[in-house]
Amino acid sequence: MLREPEQTDDQLLRRIIAGEEASFVCFYRRWQTRIYRFALHMSGSASVAEDVTQESFMSVIRDASRFDPALGTASAYLFGIARNQVLRRLEKDRMLVPFPEPNEAPLESRAKSNGNGHHATSVQPIDLARKQTIEHVREAVLSLPSHYREVVVLCDLQEMSYDEAAAALNCAIGTVRSRLHRARTLLAAKLFDLRQTQTNSAARSRGSN
């Protein structure tokens, strides 16, 4: 049985402009996970990631006609919107005193959530050491300045090529490479410091016993 060829992002965006809900749903389902995770890694907050995802796709509904395939890919267009949303949100939140979000579960457990509070049971339990390592990496990524963090998130966590990341960030490939190099150097230093701190505190606790 022949399958209908999958529509390209450009085709879907044209149909979204024409008001086709089915095309929007197709486009949304194709991209929402990557946009959500980008925002999640950039902000460290599931609620921010949710807001950013919603606002990014609202922009698509409102302004898809602004997308010009001659200027870049749909991926670059969408990540460009999401990036602006995240940076705006981070800037806004920076001026506010943060409160712990009451229902904010750790990202590790949210990773197994389907968004409705139902948790998958088929995922293997992650051992504590690995969990701690992941938490340290997450903290280190979140502590990076945003212009370094975004290249790490796009290139290392979203596995984008330098080309794709440059298009999404609207900058030169050389800029992406140099920022990534600098970001990874900072990350390595932060993780090294964290490890040293842990080793020292472990040694102190052993000494006190």
């Binding site: 929402q32 968004g115 998958a120």
Partner: protein, 251 residues
């Protein structure tokens, strides 16, 4: 390769991206020979593995389903809001276009043959042969810009005929023969929906345009689907604002 150069590309090396094969091999040879650069490469690879583990920890993360529901609702609302606007907007554009065309035609008549411009009034029965002037049907009264006699080069500016002689309300007998040849038939004037309630004056401008039959739909008039692409001649009565208020078809 020197250690400083190696350090510059160690991230690319760990990610295995952005390096051509010869540079990569050169870097690997350097790492084999230099323990500190080799260690730096190992650290870069360990960092890549740690980042990969972080990425893998969120592979199942997706936006909650209510986000999709919300967005679908927005999409539906938007479509509902846009749909009723589409026709009037298109209609406004078409009307604007026709008005522009009509204005251009009028200007060309005025500029090229000012002596041919003449306002007349005709009370001939609706649907009758139009030799001069306009009918008084639908709109209480209409006036017409008397067009040049014969067939003008500019079809859009082409109009009736006899008033070109300078006579008001009738044809010059000397032109009768040529008028017979140019005899045309026209419908009565139909007030356009966009001009509902408008009161038509005697001195209103009428211009003739050539346009696709399908353009009538823009004015809320029925169009035969089998002849939608055919060109037709139509006389438009223009309001003071230059917008068409009534139309008749001419053959």
């Amino acid at each position: 390769m020197k250690c400083a150069e190696f350090s510059e590309i160690v991230s690319d090396l760990a990610r295995n991206e952005g390096l051509d094969e010869s540079l990569r091999q050169s870097a690997m040879l350097h790492a084999d020979a230099c323990p500190s650069c080799d260690e730096e490469l190992e650290m870069a690879r360990a960092l890549s593995a740690a980042l990969h583990a972080l990425a893998a920890s969120t592979t199942a993360s997706t936006a909650p389903e209510h986000v999709e529901e919300f967005l679908r609702g927005e999409m539906r609302q938007r479509r509902a809001a846009v749909a009723p606007m589409r026709t009037p907007r298109a209609q406004r554009w078409a009307i604007g276009g026709i008005a522009g065309l009509a204005a251009a035609a009028l200007i060309s008549v005025v500029l090229l043959k000012p002596e041919l411009l003449r306002l007349t009034r005709d009370n001939s029965p609706a649907g009758s042969t139009q030799s001069a002037g306009a009918t008084t049907q639908g709109p209480e009264a209409t006036a017409q810009v008397a067009p040049p006699s014969g067939n003008s080069e500019a079809a859009t500016a082409r109009g009736g005929n006899s008033a070109a002689t300078g006579n008001t309300g009738g044809a010059n007998s000397a032109d009768t023969a040529s008028q017979d040849a140019d005899t045309e038939y026209a419908t009565s004037y139909i007030a356009l929906p966009s001009a509902e309630g408008a009161i038509f004056a005697e001195d209103q401008t009428v211009v003739r345009v050539s346009m696709p039959r399908s353009a009538l739909a823009s004015f809320g008039l029925p169009v035969r689907s089998d002849a939608a692409d055919a060109n037709i001649l139509a006389d438009f009565v223009l309001g003071e604002d230059g917008m068409p208020q009534a139309v008749r078809l001419v053959q």
